[in-house]
Amino acid sequence: MDLSVTGAFIYFTIPVFGGIPITQTTVSSFLVAVGLIVLSLVIGRKLKKRPDGWQVLVEKGVGMLYDMVEQTMGKHNLRWAPLIGTVFLSSLCGSLIGLTGFLRSSTADLSCVMVWALAVSAICWYNGIKYNGFFGWLKGFTKPIAVMTPMNVISEIAQPVSMAFRHFGNVAGGGVITGILYLALSMLSAKILGLIAKSGVAVAIMLLALGIALLLYRKLKHSKRKLTLILGVLSAVLGLFGLLEVTGVLKGVPVLSFGIPALLSCYFDLFSGFVQAYVFTLLTMVYIGNSCPEPEQGAQE
C-alpha cells in the first residue's frame, strides 16, 4: 500500500533553543488565530445601535455562548465565557481549515490539541488551589476515602488525555480514512479502465453504444425500467471513460475517485469538526465549572 500517512510537515526550524520546528500545524493555527482576531476587530470597530448584517449574526452567537456558559457553569462563572468562546472557535476553525486543501487542519495534530487540554487542566488545578489552598486541594484527592487516592489521581491525569485524544483521533482518523478511500477508488478505476483500455477501442465504443441504447429504450414494463436505467447509465459512463482512457485523453486519471470521498469528508470534516468542537468546549466548561464553586460555598470550605 503506498498510502503515506504523515504528521505535520516541518517547514523550517528556528535555530534557537535547540531548534524550534515550524510545522504545518503552527502555520494553520497561527492563521486561524490571526484570522479570528482580524475578524473580531473589524466587526467590533463599527458597532451600531441598530445592528445589521454581520453584527446581528455575531450578537446572536455571543448571546448563545453566554447562555450556554451560564447554564453549564453557573452565573458566577460568566467571566470564563471569552475563554470558552475562544476554545470553541479555534477548535472549529482549526478543524475546518483543513478543507482549504493546501493547509493542514491544526487539530489533526496531537501537539495542538494536547496543549489545549493541558491548559484546561492547569486552569482547573489553579482554581482548585486558589479556592481550597494547596493542601486543601491535595486533600481533595482523598475525598471519599483515602483508598480512593490513586483512582482520583488517575482520573485527574485521564481528563486531559481523553479530551485531547478524542478530538485528535476524530479529526486525524477521519483524514486517514478519507486518504485510504481515495487510494482504494483510484486502484479500482485503474483496474476497470485498464481492463477496457486493454481490450481495445471497439469494446469501449460498443459499451458506450449499449449504454445509450439502454437509456433510450422506453417500451419496457415499469419493473424492468429501473434496472435498464441503472445498467444504461453504468455502461454509458464506463464506455465513455474507457474511450477517453484508450484514446489517451484521460491517461491514468483516477476517474472513479471524484465525488465519492467528498461525501465521506462531509461527515468527517464538517459534522465531526462541529461535534468535536462542541464536545471539547462543553467538557472545558464542565471541568472549569467544577473547579470554581459558588462564591458563598468557596467562603465556607
Binding site: L3, V5, S162, F165, R166, F168, G169, N170, A172, G173, V176, V275, Q276, Y278, V279, L282
Partner: protein, 83 residues
C-alpha cells in the same frame, strides 16, 4: 529468502492485529451509542417539544461514548502505519 518470509509474517501480523483491534474496539461504542439513541428516541416520542435539547445531548453523549472506539482506531493506525 527468510527475510522475505519474516517480512511477510510481520505484514500479516500487522494486518490481523489492526483488524482485530478495530473490530473489537468498535463493539463497545456501537452498543453504547445504540442504547443512547434508543433512549433519546423514546424521550422524544414521549415529549416531542423537548426534541431539541434531547437531540443535542444525545449527540454530545454519543461523541463521548465514541472515545474508546477512537482510541482503538488510533491504535489500529499506529499498528498499520507506524509499527
Amino acid at each position: 529468502m527468510n527475510e522475505l518470509i519474516a517480512e511477510a509474517i510481520a505484514t500479516a501480523g500487522k494486518a490481523i492485529g489492526a483488524g482485530l483491534c478495530m473490530g473489537i474496539g468498535a463493539i463497545g461504542p456501537g452498543v453504547g451509542e445504540g442504547n443512547a439513541v434508543s433512549k433519546a428516541l423514546e424521550g422524544m416520542a414521549r415529549q416531542p417539544e423537548a426534541a431539541g435539547t434531547l437531540r443535542s445531548t444525545m449527540i454530545m453523549g454519543c461523541a463521548i461514548a465514541e472515545t474508546t472506539g477512537i482510541y482503538s482506531l488510533l491504535i489500529a493506525f499506529l499498528i498499520l502505519f507506524v509499527l
